[in-house]
Amino acid sequence: MMLLTCPWCGPRDETEYHYGGQAHVAYPENPSDLSDEEWADYLFFRDNPKGPFAERWSHSAGCRRWFNVVRDTATYQVLKVYTNADDPLPVVGSSAEAGGSR
């Protein structure tokens, strides 16, 4: 069980949250210009690092807000919690490349 600190509500059990996958996956600027392969890449392919990973979480049983967590996927250590308002990109994490989807 993880204890995640919601930026608005403070520390709460993992069971109060909903997981939203990799963070900072930018929507393509011109989706209609993409090939099927590029579109599939955007839709379905995500990083799967062993180590720090920036991901989206929603405090669904609390304030219902979305925020970002940098979590080490090997140790489950939470390295950083931030909102899109405070910091557009995490300091650590392999998924920081804008729009990176693989």
């Binding site: 403070g10 069971t15 049983a61 304030c63």
Partner: protein, 211 residues
Amino acid sequence: MAELTGLTQDLIGMRRSPLAGMARELMERAVTGERNVRVSEWRFTTMVSLRVDPASSAAEELEGVLGTTLPRTSGEVSSHGQHSVLWLGPDEWLVVSQMSPAVLVAALLESVGDAHAAVVDVSANRTVVELRGAAARAVLEKGCPLDLHPRSFGPGQAVSTTLARIPLVLWQVGPDSYRLLPRSSFAEYVARWLVDASQEFASTFRDGGRS
């Protein structure tokens, strides 16, 4: 219009609260004794959802009508007269009031005018289940992931959390008294879960097996 009002009055008379069918059972299964605990329902409580930017002038207008501030941090409740305002999110509040919903919503809507804000009567969305007694905290601790020890949670605090896996607002009003605000459709489940979780406290056996 007069006919409509008459119809509304009739409908109000026909309302049935979510736990109406359990009132007798809740009374009969109340736990007495040293570790007493009982469950009851506060029927037809007025609840109004507010969505507004807390930095806007509309927020100030709403605070003027309510006579109290909109709390700015999680867990905080502000009260004045008939109204209590519960923090649900950085731009979302729940007003729990003794005032008639029609009167309160009309006054709040008038105060915000055409500003970017939402005032919605959500009285039928939830019901209020009161849990009271010396063992109340021990009952909740069986199914709530929150730390309810007085060092981290106390009277005058309310948070959205879960109990027995369902989402609700947990509001502590006194050292031994809590109000739970589940969705109406979950109310019977919550009440049955609470009654079941309470029954062990009727036992007079203490640690060590001595009665």
